[in-house]
């Protein structure tokens, strides 16, 4: 059962300052180019909370773009692991839902030690979206704007105070450490929260239905010609893959400093690239761009639900913002679901 408290807004910066003494604090900041990015906080007053979803996504802190795995010299190996304790403040619900899925993906069968050691040392304070963006559609997937479980600490902005919920032991311990800042919750607070969530839910503009699209694909009504048509608009920039909080493909490379000495690291890779499946002897199993795009959508719309029972999309809308060809998840699902007959 979730524990609920009230936090006065005036106490928030004090709480964050206290937390920062113990661990590294990461929060959304406005960059020089006016983008919202998650960064380690220097000045607490710079934290920017009025934003829909940060670009890039939260996966950066659990599965970095470039991550050193181990050093080797003359056959001996030293593991490199990041054991920094982190609190990530101001994450959105869609990202928290993505992490819940990533935990399952990296934790099943063969456990990914690098992801898991970072995950173990990270605690999240998520924030309910009061004003979702025009590109957001988490409501249609049940991954936001308000979560009922699977978060550490969730804050709902009630104007002058936050309603604080915890669903994990880690989160509860953090609150207990600073118990004097939190007060008891009253019935009127719940009512205010309900109102806020209701108004937030009414603000979603995108009305897409992934389940309909999935059913249509499964029934075989979407031909390869459709994907070839989509491919014509693809620039192969890989933006959708890099921004997606649920895309986890990586490449493993070695870098040498001298002979027999160097380190092995992994970097993000994208299935949109032609060279992604390239085999020795210049064999390209997926040379067709349409087939690669189909693979990406099938992974998210078909294989993810088959395996995890959830779509491989959390409705954060990052691909919509990023894609220069307007062939992002929302538009493609819409085209599959409603479409126009001429194109299909």
């Amino acid at each position: 059962m979730n524990k609920v408290f009230i936090l006065d807004k005036n106490y928030l910066s004090y709480l964050l300052r206290q937390i920062r003494k113990k661990m590294s604090l990461v929060a959304p900041l406005r960059s020089e180019n006016e983008d919202i990015v998650l960064k380690t906080v220097e000045n607490i007053h710079e934290i920017e909370l009025n934003y829909p979803a940060s670009i890039p996504s939260i996966k950066e802190f659990l599965f970095p773009q470039k991550e050193d795995m181990f050093r080797f010299s003359d056959g001996t190996v030293d593991i490199l692991k990041d054991n920094t304790k982190r609190l990530i403040f101001g994450v959105r619900s869609c990202d928290i839902s993505a992490i819940t899925l990533l935990d399952r993906f990296f934790g099943e069968n063969f456990i990914d030690d690098y992801y898991m050691s970072r995950r173990k040392n990270t605690i999240f304070i998520s924030l309910v979206c009061n004003n979702p963006d025009t590109t957001c559609f988490c409501l249609r997937l049940g991954t936001g704007p308000f979560l009922k479980s699977n978060f550490d600490i969730q804050l709902t902005d009630l104007g002058d105070r936050y309603i604080v919920e915890t669903a994990s032991e880690q989160g509860l311990n953090l609150i207990k450490d600073h118990a004097h800042l939190f007060s008891k919750v009253r019935k009127s607070d719940y009512e205010d929260q309900y109102e806020i969530i209701l108004s937030s839910r009414s603000k979603f503009e995108k009305r897409i239905n992934l389940e309909n699209a999935r059913q249509k694909i499964l029934s075989g009504r979407i031909s390869d010609r459709f994907w070839d048509w989509v491919a014509k608009r693809c620039f192969e920039c890989g933006g959708c893959v890099y921004e997606c909080p649920l895309c986890t493909c990586f490449n493993v490379l070695d870098r040498t400093e001298s002979e027999d000495k160097g380190h092995r690291f992994r970097i993000w890779d994208a299935c949109m690239f032609k060279g992604f499946t390239k085999m020795a002897g210049n064999v390209y199993p997926s040379e067709n761009k349409g087939a690669r795009i189909k693979q990406w959508y099938f992974h998210k719309l078909i294989y993810y639900p088959d395996h995890f029972g959830k779509f491989g999309c959390v409705g954060c809308g990052r691909c919509t913002i990023t894609c220069p060809g307007h062939i992002d998840m929302a538009s493609i699902v819409d085209k599959i679901d409603i479409g126009d007959r001429r194109r299909r």
Partner: protein, 284 residues
């Protein structure tokens, strides 16, 4: 399936103790791991060449019979070229074993066919070895072996040994990569073995395919053609098995490079039945 490996991405130290030339571009590497390393037929390892990278390689030796892990590698890409330049002893790293094994238990009491095209004999060798050791448990055992030219037939010693034990052998030699039967070159005069592509022989032999099991390995075109022919000749699609290959970076179902149609070749495969392949890849 629970992981047998503690550090998923950390290679185990190993040493190449011997390198043997098989043909002009194929070498056999004998690898000695520093710790005990158990493996079964059909599984593969991730071979690390420090500073160069990691590649998936299938194991061609039999655990318990061969002293070292044997890897038969053709010089094709960046890492295999570097491997071919090595001189023993050389330090490398291995991870694994990964993947599933050939479901040989199912084939007991039945006719068994092995189809090996070129390097395809490599993952089949430990399987044939195990099957020949328990020969009484199987009915007829046949190996249909093909290669580009007679000089490129691998593991001839092993094949002779198996033949003595009672393995039926059909050799096929194919010029270049052409698959049409009229392009077969009949050059192999040295032995009175049949010549042609693997599938070409099947039409002539008087064998019932209904209850037989087959294990196919080779280049993709050969796999597809053989599977199609076998299924057309009445073999059950669930008893035709093959080993697939793909670009891999992790071997543990995380990196996504071998993820095709909802299956990871590294963890769900690399051995698939024709029925599974047809379900997931309509192109087959």
């Amino acid at each position: 399936m629970k992981s047998r490996i503690k550090d998923t991405y950390l290679p185990l130290k190993a040493e190449i103790v011997e390198i043997m030339d098989m043909t002009s571009d194929i070498k056999l590497f004998k690898v000695k791991p520093y710790r005990q390393f158990l493996y079964k037929p059909g599984e593969f390892i991730m071979l690390s060449l420090w500073g160069k990278g990691e590649i998936p390689i299938s194991i061609t030796s039999t655990y318990g019979f061969h002293k070292y892990i044997e890897l038969c590698i053709r010089r094709v890409g960046f890492i295999t070229s570097a491997l071919h330049l090595l001189k023993p002893p050389a330090k490398i790293g291995i991870r694994g074993p990964f993947g599933n094994t050939f479901p040989v238990e199912k084939a007991k009491g039945k006719d068994v066919f092995f189809f090996a095209g070129g390097l395809g004999i490599v993952p089949l060798r430990p399987l044939i070895h195990n099957v020949m050791n328990e020969k009484s448990k199987f009915k007829r055992i046949t190996l249909i072996c093909g290669s580009r030219n007679p000089g490129e037939i691998l593991f001839k010693d092993d094949i002779d040994l198996w033949q003595k034990k009672g393995l039926n052998i059909i050799f096929g030699v194919r010029k270049g990569l052409q698959l049409l039967i009229h392009n077969i070159e009949k050059k192999d005069n040295s032995s009175q073995r049949k010549v042609g592509i693997e599938t070409g022989h099947l039409n002539t032999s008087k064998i019932s395919f209904k209850n037989a099991y087959s294990f196919i390995c080779g280049p993709p075109v050969m796999i597809i053609e053989t599977m199609k022919s076998l299924s057309m000749m009445g073999m059950n699609e669930e008893s035709i098995f093959t080993s697939l290959e793909a670009h891999m970076k992790c071997g543990v179902g995380k990196c996504g490079h071998c993820y095709i149609d909802g299956k990871y070749i590294c963890t769900d495969g690399p051995i698939f039945s024709y029925a599974e392949l047809k379900k997931h890849r309509p192109s087959y």
